[in-house]
Amino acid sequence: MLILKCPYCGVACDETELHAGGEAHLTRHGPGSSDADFEEYLFMRENPRGVHFERWRHVYGCGKWFHAARDTATLEVFGTYSAQVAEPPKDVRAAITAKVPGWRWRDLS
């Protein structure tokens, strides 16, 4: 069972308390954007076997959205962080590098 720590209320919640919200840090392309950008935003997904960044919501708790860094191949959790950022913070990236040297995700590493 997946356990993530909500960065807002500090509770270690198991997945039944949470709702998975899909890939993190998507750029929301809207009206006026190119077809390719809109397709990218709506449908194209990273889907890595390994390090992944996602949005989660603490539905049966404080109700807030947050981010999580996770390994989809081992189910290891590297850390959770605020929803108010456009990319993963340094300490989370360092925690991943310590465990998975050479990881990459989009243009992050």
Binding site: M1, L2, E15, T16, H19, A20, G22, E23, D35, A36, F38, E39, L42, F43, M44, R45, E46, N47, P48, R49, H52, E54, T72, A73, T74, L75
Partner: protein, 425 residues
């Protein structure tokens, strides 16, 4: 570098009642191997990555329908060890959209005489599939599907609760939470033996001289000037003129090697079976509102499945609470299963697209084709998908696969089955 070795002699005995009688008289010493175990050649006309049902069927129809036999199917594990060997084997074609009905009904109709075609008993059992309507919306939805199916030439009908009870007496149709209000009934839907489908295709491919190479993981896709030229594998480099990527849950990973992106996410889907009991249910029942479905295997086990996990996962095991949800949902409609012991549970990694329809397509890399996105429901499609994919790879066009191209996502031309097929199967 892999070296050229003399081709294996592949004489496979035909299976028949006479063969069984003959072998009975000679202590079963005369059975030959069902498929070869060759070393990879340096180059093939076509390489298929993934020896699941869809990859093997693609290879089979490349040989049978298009005469392309210099083909290798590369498999990182053992053949049929992916979702093909992990699914709950429901076969139906009562989809809403025309392109879906076409490819699923093609598959279902090929299943009807697949055992004869492959000379391998795939145990196709058209026992009938019913999808329960347990809300007013579902009644409307399934009536609409039944009308669509009538126009598409797919034999289905909307049946009354009394008929449901008659077809499946162990069902409690009065609720309490979700009474059964009717069902979409496809009498020629059913089940087949999943392993046998993979094994039957593999045996025929091998007989045609194709190489099925197990324990051979593709780790890179090589290209020159935007054209695919071969693959890198755990058993060396192998060249090809055309490449078919048919790796289900691993599609994103392999597409990454080939340098393109996919509108796919990989999630875990589980199933479980009970201890074997006496025959009590001779139809397949799906309850989409409460998210569960059940059938009885020939061994007597109740085969149960439900929904996928909500997050990306490659571990081939799912969450416990999903099993609990599925079983809890089914106990209301099938009270008798509350006393059953569950024997085992397993998971597979399914490849889910935004519109819940598959992708059979050319890719941005020339001569590289992809067949994926079957998600939770591709076992039923194996023969039709292989038929269409082979045609696409051999000739560049197939009416069966035309609507399922990758370009549909940028064009907004979805084949929306997410509403029609709310449950995993």
């Amino acid at each position: 570098m892999p070296s050229e070795i003399p081709r294996m002699k592949r004489e496979m005995s035909r299976y028949s009642v006479f063969a069984v009688a003959r072998e009975a008289f000679r202590d079963h010493q005369g059975w030959t191997r069902a498929w070869g175990s060759p070393e990879p050649k340096r180059k093939y006309d076509v390489i298929i990555i993934g020896a699941g049902g869809h990859g093997l069927a693609t290879a089979y129809y490349l040989g049978k329908n298009h005469g392309i036999r210099n083909v290798a199917v590369l498999e990182k594990g053992w053949l049929g060890g992916g979702n093909t060997g992990r699914n709950t084997t429901i076969i139906r074609s009562n989809y809403l959209q025309d392109p879906s009905a076409a490819i699923y009904e093609k598959a279902r109709s090929l299943y009807e005489d697949l055992s004869q075609d492959l000379n391998y008993n795939v145990m196709f059992s058209p026992r009938g599939v019913m999808m329960l309507a347990q809300t007013e919306h579902e009644i409307r939805g399934y009536k609409r599907t039944a009308h669509a199916n009538a126009l598409q030439g797919v034999a289905t009908e909307f049946i009354s609760p009394a008929r449901v009870k008659q077809l499946c007496p162990i069902m409690e149709i009065r609720g309490p939470r979700y009474p059964v209000l009717g069902a979409l009934w496809q009498p020629r839907g059913g089940t087949a033996r999943h392993d046998a489908v993979a094994w039957g295709y593999a045996r025929k491919c091998s007989e045609m001289g194709m190489d099925i190479i197990q324990k051979c993981e593709v780790t890179g896709v090589r290209s020159q000037g935007g054209k695919v030229v071969g693959v890198t594998t755990s058993r060396g480099d192998i060249d090809c003129d055309k490449l078919g990527v048919v790796v289900a849950g691993h599609s994103g990973h392999v597409a990454d090697m080939a340098g393109f992106r996919l509108p796919i996410e990989s999630v875990a889907l589980q199933a479980l079976v009970s201890e074997p009991i006496k025959p009590c249910m001779d139809v397949v029942v799906m309850a989409n509102t409460v998210h569960g479905y059940m059938s009885q295997s020939d061994k007597g086990e109740m085969v149960i499945g439900g929904g996928t996990d909500g997050y990306n996962n490659y571990t081939q095991r799912g969450s416990f609470h999903h099993i609990e949800e599925t079983v809890r949902a089914l106990v209301e409609t099938f009270p008798m299963i509350s006393r059953l012991k569950m024997l085992r549970q397993w998971g597979g990694i399914v490849d889910v697209t935004g519109d819940r329809s598959p992708i059979l397509s050319k890719t941005p890399l020339e001569n590289c084709f992809i067949n994926c996105g079957w998600g939770t429901g591709g076992f039923k499609a194996i023969p039709g998908s292989g038929w269409g994919m082979a045609e696409l790879m051999a000739t560049g066009y197939s009416p069966l696969t035309e609507a399922f191209g990758l370009d549909r996502f940028s064009e907004g031309r979805f084949i929306d089955e997410s509403v029609a097929a709310g449950v995993a199967h």
